[in-house]
Amino acid sequence: MNLNYLFSFTVVVALAMIAWAGIDVWGLNGLFCIAVPYVAAILFIIGFAKKVLGWADSYVPFRIPTTCGQEKSLPWIKQNKIDNPSTTTGVVMRMFFEIVLFRSLFRNTKAKFKDNYRLSYRWEIFLWVAALAFHYAFAVVVLRHLRFFFEPVPQFVQLLEKADSFFRFEFFAPFFKIGLPGVYLSGFVLLGALLFLLGRRIFLGQVRYVSLASDYFPLFLIIGIAASGILMRYFAKVDVIAIKEFAMGLASLHPKVPEGVGAIFYVHLFLVSVLVAYFPYSKLMHAGGIFLSPTRNLANNNREKRHINPWNYSVKTHTYEEYEEEFREKMIEAGIPVEKEQ
């Protein structure tokens, strides 16, 4: 057992219980359905703007890209234009592949002692696979939720839903029924990838050693969100029409507390609100940070162009010509060679 993940797990369970108690015991529907989501949204926007503007304000006096290939050099040496870009186009390519395909994570290795304590590094692809699966599944899930905010539902959301429910799973036993409404693959991919990422942190010694409560908390939180969503869609069903009415009310600034919706919905909503509010103040802010990483978004042209430190003050200089002018006679007397005799 480890205090870090135990703590995060307990916090997420406590949050879920607070949401449930807030609605079912204390009857604070207005607080949990209207105030909490709006406050979360405001905290998200303020926090996000503050973080990004803070980064924008910090100086990057020198180019510090972390390069992973041959630098631009002599004409017959082939440059790696994506991994060691020297132009803006190269940087754009590099950033695109980094953001869309997690290119740097693809190079992930793991260190292990082989026979005779020989340290060996192996290419380890599963972190990349799970991270990619998680991010894309989450993106699809978020986009699918747009059906609750638009009337009529946009065409691309319907298309996404069709693609997502392409494989039809239907299993109906007296005690376990799944399949109606249609199973969306993305939800299960999301949950599976999250469980893998969590298992990695818990079971791999080296990763556990560097994991903090703030690494486990978002994992447990999103697991809670995905699990409550799946539970709500397939098992403990809720009145979707009432929920859409509520969501549209929130989006049009005429919020109305939904009636007759199961407690699981309030848990889901509260956990999502917590995630949204927590986002800009945590490691999740890498979503914005990736765009502003000086080790990624700068071209490696340190030797090609002169980069002047923005806070340089004007230095008083005394060039050699001026020096010789001042001391010429003394230099000639002392027998020191000078450039100009006169």
Binding site: I45, L53, W55, F149, F172, I241, K244, A251
Partner: protein, 129 residues
Amino acid sequence: MKNKRLILTGLIIFFAIVTVPLWYNLFSGKKPAAPELEYTAKAKAAKVCVEPTAFMKVNHMELLYMWRESVVRKGERTYVNSNGKKFNMSLTNTCLDCHSNKDKFCDRCHEYSSVRPYCWDCHNVKEKE
């Protein structure tokens, strides 16, 4: 960083995208109200469906699936509900007998919540007499 203007533009674009549902709902002038369902005279007279309304609202798809299983696989056509009342398991002859206005009953909610049931891939909707 010297690209401050670029960063600010990106930030504004991001916020604009994130808040699209707000702008759309504020300026399209649409009411968030759920669609109104129309009940036929027969449905109004019956007052209650085969199971209570709250159950039907969230579980009608599973009920229909169980009916299909029962009829197609087992040849069993009688459904006994929670009150002990018997019904003929049939989408066309039982459900659509009362709710003969599919476009004003089934479709309204399904369209509102972007659900595409595959019932109508096989089942015909009776012509109105």
